[in-house]
């Protein structure tokens, strides 16, 4: 993985494309929820995907990760199909997508992040346990390692999910609403970890809801509402015009105020 490490200072124009999406169209029923999406994500960015509820943000991530089969279009990760590159990619699903009453512990869930590199049949051993404990430590959850996951707060559950992705030691991280339902302390803890990932040359893609914090947290942004509205550096394209196009309401008195 070291060969694709990059310097944060490298100008974006000279960077490789971490993710490339071409003409992607996805539908659950007959009506497409993503329509003809073209998207290039340069490596080393911390990117927000913004858009109203039901815009297809989760669907976009799921299609990129091969969870959903698109009707049309293609996705490549560093120039190759996802299937060949999955070890470079980690995923934090939306917290509500699993049953937190499942009989298992925090450490166990984090350990699942090692299953991909283990492959079929092989059981996690000491090495996997060690890296999982380190990840728990990083997200400040080491003291809760043996907790049944239903007895964690929403913010703690979110941290567990983040730790599970960190264990994957990937180059590209996809996170679906990692700030959903977390308190201010957790939000700061999480964003610091994300910024650290970027500093280490990783690409981090985050579905994000709080428009106020976009300029503070992210350097790259994609506006999505069924179609891709815009994508690029936050300082260039995060403006009222794109917000209005995406959310359909007049955003004149937004953000800066």
């Amino acid at each position: 993985m070291s060969e694709i490490k990059i310097q944060e200072k490298t100008p974006v124009s000279e960077r490789k494309m971490a993710v490339q999406v071409d003409d992607l169209t996805v539908a659950y029923n007959y009506k497409p929820v993503l329509w003809d999406i073209d998207l290039e994500i340069p490596e080393g960015v911390l990117m927000a995907i913004v858009g109203p509820n039901g815009a297809g943000k989760s669907t976009l991530i799921k299609a990129i990760l091969g969870i959903l089969k698109p009707i049309a279009g293609s996705v490549t990760i560093y120039g190759k199909p996802y299937d060949e590159q999955r070890k470079l990619v980690a995923y934090v699903p939306q917290k509500g997508s699993v049953d937190w009453d499942f009989p298992t512990t925090a450490l166990d869930v984090v350990m699942m992040g090692t299953y991909g590199s283990l492959g079929w049949i092989k059981r996690p051993g000491l090495k996997e346990k060690k890296s999982s404990l380190e990840a728990l430590e990083k997200v400040g959850m080491l003291a809760f390692k043996n907790r049944q996951i239903s007895q964690l707060s929403g913010g703690q559950q979110q941290r567990i999910f983040l730790a599970r992705a960190l264990v994957q030691d990937a180059s590209i991280y996809f996170m679906d609403e990692p700030f959903q339902g977390v308190d201010a302390t957790t939000e700061i803890a999480i964003i610091n970890i994300l910024k650290e990932l970027r500093k280490a040359g990783k690409t981090v893609i985050v579905v994000h809801h709080d428009l106020q914090t976009v300029p503070e947290y992210f350097d790259w942004v994609t506006f999505l509402n069924v179609k891709k509205i815009a994508t690029g550096p936050v300082k260039d394209i995060f403006n009222d015009d794109n917000l209005t196009k995406t959310y359909g309401i007049n955003y004149k008195v937004s953000i800066q105020e």
Binding site: Y91, S97, P103, T105, Y115, G116
Partner: protein, 375 residues
Amino acid sequence: MDIQEYFSLVFSDYTLRTITLGTAILGAVTGMLGSFAVLRKQSLLGDAISHAALPGIAIAFLITGSKDTNTLLIGALISGLIGTFWIRGIVTKTHLKSDTALGLILSLFFGFGMLLLTFIQKQPNANQAGLDKYLFGQAATLVEKDVWLMAIITGLCLFVLLFFWKEFKLFLFDADYAKTLGFNTNFIDILITSFIVLAIVLGLQTVGVVLMSAMLLAPAAAARQWTNSLSKMVFLAAIFGAFSGVFGTAISASQNNLSTGPVIVIVASVFVVISFIFSPSRGLLFRQIRFIANRRDLEQQKTLAFMYHIAETHDNISHPHTIKILNNFQGYTRKTLQKLVDKGYVTLDGTMWSLTEKGFETAANLYNQQALKDE
């Protein structure tokens, strides 16, 4: 025969031993696999599979004319599998909810099965009698080779379970994530579902089509109440299932006219009821007790905190104050005061109270603890 007699006979009497062993093994394997159905919230799956198996039994009989259990169960297995994979197909190809698909297949196959049974019933040859035993099961017809078959399938199931444990767990908790890690979730799903079909078909002779899904769900639902670990849950479900089998057989053997299948299911349900009431962490009873205890603790803590604020204003924390002051504080009762005295936090002298050293420290800590809890 009474229950005592049953247990003294079970080791020596061949028939009794066979039936008991059969129902115990059946209970264990359905309990194990039922854990997966329960965790996937597929409570209708067992019903759909068992009902879908019925036409297979009838068709196997119509084709072969044989009443041999294994022949009929192979028919059941085939139609159970067809039904199950139709359900999968319906769910992935159309936009029907999985409950709808399950219900649809269940009624369709069961209706067709009943139709065939009635048709067979009306045939002139007398051979047909007895197929309807698959509706409610007839444990008494279990013979040694049936038990062997059950034991082999259970062993195979156990082996697969241990072999793919990690994959099963990952799939059950977060199937999408499993997919992104490169696991073939379709394969895992088909493996689990096929074993559930197999276990259900094995139970048709003993428990029957109608009640079979209870055998799948009841031990697992009961087991979930007692543990927060997947492996312990699967293990406990197997134990509960096996005990339901043994006790059910014992009770029905000692009461002449009770058929075994329904009694086994009732015993399994008793496990569920007991578990839902008495489980220490999830049961209704202890939840209620904890709730009351919490409320009492809270009252005491509030009273102690109030006293702490009064005591704080004096240099000597144990300076006595009149009980009347406490009356201003809502939530205070004589009983909580007495409890605080019992705990050594407060001393009483006539109508005066004073905080002890221990009481003062405890009260001071309460705030820190509260802060920690909110974290």
